[in-house]
Symmetry: C2
């Protein structure tokens, strides 16, 4: 398809697509004349992922490029490509934490991972984000021991099973990786809004039961 | 305690505390001389919440003031105070969605809420955020039918039970509301980082099983 059709089908303005092409977020089309190029379904799919990253995930352009180059790196195995792509995504928290708080947080996180039987590379940015969240909860004096963290870990476990099932439905390796990255980003707000809605439902349920209010 | 001690115990610089006082995020201390005021444990606790909102939740100052005034509004019942406070928190997604996409997303969201047996006010911002996420997933061609959304909803349900149990341990109404708001914000990054870590664990487990990689 031509650029105009790619724009129409993706709902993304031509100027924005040209910007993504210049920034290397979208591979160039197949050149047909000096001024025209043809684009395929893979461009349409890639545009969807770029949009998920930039508009929903608010990922900076340089980071998006890093994520996409990991997706496209066929020199390494699939799970390595996936790991690099997902760990290049920005984390929700990146607040600093001091030494003392960090040690206590590490001890809690390790106890949690052991309880969950998760064998993980400690250098993963999601692990650093978990530590930082625990350190903040501690510093502010809110409960966050293994007892409070475990329900979250167990639910994350269950979610991961259905998430990976969903991703496994995509056949081609690159399509599967694109889906994994997009679904990681796109289901995060789904999860957070459902948690907030569930709070409302649960508070209402209890206040009807106790009629304290 | 004096301002210097409040700063030391909270780990927040004096200048920042003065800024919070000026912005009305922290109630004034009890004046003892023309230039000195005394602060109590409630100031320390409130500073923790302000910090959770602004530093972790990246809530703008005006929004934080709105959340806190809902927490402090003793003219209405507890669950109303909670509802207003939490729904004043910023949502993760606020991207716009067009008419057609919105209708399809509403139908899916309604089917999900019915399946979950959740009776909810449709004007809640978390509901708008859910709609917007579903519309985005749809537009980008990623799966998000009730089949995919339901596991998220069921897990959110379970989380809400343990979250509200945790909050119920705080006795005084205002302390409980402060905890509810703080824990809503502070556990969001915990949940997202655990989900990402669980993905790594699950992918590794499956690749060991299938040895495809």
């Amino acid at each position: 398809m031509r650029l105009a059709e790619l724009s129409e089908r993706s709902g993304i303005p031509i100027a924005t697509i040209k910007y993504y092409l210049r920034e290397g977020l979208l591979p160039p089309g197949e050149r047909v004349t000096a001024t025209q190029a043809r684009y395929g379904e893979e461009h349409l799919r890639r545009l969807g992922l770029v949009r998920a990253l930039i508009q929903v995930g608010r990922v900076p352009v340089a980071t998006a490029r890093e994520v996409l180059s990991a997706v496209d790196d066929t020199s390494v195995g699939l799970s390595k490509r996936l790991g690099t792509a997902v760990s290049s995504l920005p984390q929700v928290t990146q607040s600093e934490h001091d030494g003392a708080g960090r040690d206590a947080a590490s001890a809690k996180a390790d106890a949690l991972l052991e309880e969950l039987d998760w064998d993980l590379p400690k250098q993963d940015p999601a692990y650093a984000s978990l530590l930082s969240s625990i350190a903040t909860l501690d510093r502010l004096g809110y409960p966050c021991d293994v007892a409070q963290l475990l329900p979250y870990g167990l639910l994350a476990n269950q979610l991961a099973v259905s998430d990976i099932d969903l991703i496994s439905e995509f056949e081609a390796p690159t399509t599967r990786l694109e889906a994994a990255v997009a679904l990681t980003v796109l289901y995060e707000p789904v999860l957070l809004s459902l948690r907030r809605l569930a709070h409302i439902v649960e508070v209402k349920r209890r206040s009807l039961e106790s009629d304290q209010d």
